[in-house]
Symmetry: C2
Subunit: 352 residues, 2 copies
């Protein structure tokens, strides 16, 4: 039978609570659809940092390298600065494995209450395609004249042709698989006048190769406004690392809950493992109470199966999530319910 | 009597339609409150660019220098690239006159429909304080290896101590004048690891001087989500040039209409004139139809009077705007009405 090797990193906080539910559902899908998951567990987290001084061992990436996918919970904990926790674990995996696509569905699920007035599920159903390796998240920068009135900090934003073209191409390819076939580009070329005009230029160039795809573009400020006022306008939205980051939190917020939002960090060529993680963080405020919503994690698992070629299994999971929400199954606090993390995980696993 | 010298630049598109209504209301306020406005009109726009090759004359800033304020409509027109129109007029004024505060109220007005479900006017009432001279809108950057596969563009983001401290201080001073006395900082120090940690550091330092003000901070991605999910959390929100730009379009969108949103570009020391302009742009799609909403422009006029020390007149204008909206006065299309630009301007002028 088919076998997929999965590296599991629950990480911190509610990641430790949602990951087991993700695995529970994946396991149910494997049994039903006849494939095998070979799991390797890694305890890398802010706790191991406290013990060892490292978020992951020096050969961490090598340990993950021959898995087919990484299944991640959440990273970060109060007391450990983000530049240690995130830049010691999450970001090195995204970059080291050249997971240059961050793919994030924004979908209003049936039975979920959106903060917007008068919006039905079919009106919010789009993808944010985020560049995941360069742009505003750069490692070039520094501080000068520290401690004086002349002090300043500087950080470069970098767009390479390779990095820009491949993410835009991914967005067009994705649009080709969807009924509406539309790509929206997030820009800010009127204010950020070196990098963003280049983004626009490469977008226009790529669009020529996809005459069947319709396009538009908005500056990030008004685009955020449109997410709230006209979420029905969007099909596939492509943006730089920072703009994609912003839009892929705003999109799920508009669609009702960040607790259900999933994300994939993809290396499309499969030269390296891809990584699947919920959009939410480690949520220290509710960690340890077992009330976190596991749906973002479970949905990320479905995206992982899809990436691994297990299309039917992936669809069974997303269908089960939708059915649970629509038919009044157990729901966690963020969705107005009383259920615990495990209740929701079990219900979805059973449905699968 | 008191006299204020105002430089009026209607600019492009609907700016030419909303500015006269702004002036109509300012004139009514002047007559009622006994001060004089000495207007100088400037036709600087994309049209003058087409004729002269310049958005404003070389000595443009000098021509404006001894006015007390600049009253601007909108800048930009299809066919003239943004880096010409905006960087030839709007941005040089903001920078040349060191208008380092962009102040933008986000207020749900009575009678305006917000896209959010179940939100009452008092629940959305905050200010975005945006840094307006440096940050991500920098003039340092360039392109290397053009036309090859190695091509890349780079743009620096710059935060100076002077620039960072003074905008954060302005936010705290503003919070001190408000009942809730709260400042929220927009950051992204987990991803943008040179500039944003510095922002956090200066924010924490400044907060020590204002023990009466409560503070919090969010990364820009989740902050945008909170604007939609919890707009009632905010009182004064301070951000860098880009983050402030994004939040000050998202805030008005959440509060119902960008057509009513006002903004002030302030030089608090009054070393140079400040500039007042609506948040909306030149709106080529509706320009020439006289259906644009003039309220953003009129409200900007009220902010101008406030800056010039005409507090009562400013309040009379904002009260009249609120009364018009609450009591079913004429409203433009964007607010679900049928009225024209002039109808709304006249109604507010009369009420004043
Ligand atoms: C037109 C553009 C350069 C401008 C900005 O980003 O500053 C506008 O969006 C604004 O917010 O005033
Ligand atoms: C934690 C942080 C560095 C990360 C990011 O900005 O990439 C997160 O916000 C995300 O969206 O995955």
């Amino acid at each position: 039978g088919r076998k997929h090797r999965i590296a599991v990193i629950p990480g911190d906080g509610i990641g430790k609570e949602t990951t087991p539910e993700g695995l529970r559902v994946l396991d149910a899908a494997a049994r039903r659809f006849g494939f095998e998951l070979e799991l390797k567990h890694y305890d890398w987290s802010c706790e191991t940092y406290a013990e060892t001084g490292k978020m992951m061992p020096d050969d961490g990436l090598d340990q993950l390298r021959d898995s087919d996918s990484v299944f991640l919970g959440a990273v970060g904990w109060p007391g450990v600065p983000d530049h240690v926790s995130l830049w010691g674990l999450l970001i090195p995996i995204r970059r080291g494995f050249d997971q240059y696509v961050s793919l994030r569905p924004c979908k209003l699920l049936p039975g979920v209450k959106t903060p917007l007035a008068d919006r039905a599920p079919h009106e919010i159903d789009f993808y944010v395609v985020r560049e995941n390796t360069e742009g505003e998240y750069s490692s070039v920068g520094g501080r000068m004249f520290p401690g004086t009135d002349r002090e300043f900090v500087s950080q470069q934003s970098i767009l390479t042709r390779t990095g820009t073209d491949r993410i835009i191409k991914y967005a067009f390819e994705l649009a080709m698989t969807r009924p509406r076939k539309k790509v929206t580009s997030a820009t800010k070329s009127n204010g950020i006048t070196f990098t963003m005009p280049y983004w626009d230029e490469r977008f226009a160039e790529m669009a020529k190769n996809y005459p069947a795809v319709s396009t538009d573009q908005f500056h990030i400020d008004i685009l955020c406004a449109h997410f709230v006022q006209h979420p029905d306008w969007f099909d596939v939205v492509v943006g730089s690392n920072l703009f994609g980051d912003i839009l892929s939190d705003l999109g799920p917020a508009v669609a009702g809950s960040i607790g259900v939002a999933a994300s994939a960090n993809i290396n499309p060529e499969k030269d390296h493992p891809s990584m699947f993680e919920p959009v939410h963080g480690s949520a220290p405020d509710i960690a340890g109470k077992w009330v976190a919503n596991p749906i973002g994690q479970i949905w990320s698992g479905a995206m992982m199966l899809d990436h691994l070629g297990e299309r039917d299994a992936a669809k069974a999971i997303t269908d089960s999530i939708e059915a649970l929400l629509r038919d009044g199954g157990p729901r966690t606090r963020d969705l107005g319910g009383q259920a615990g993390t495990v209740d929701v995980g079990k219900a979805i696993a059973e449905a699968v």
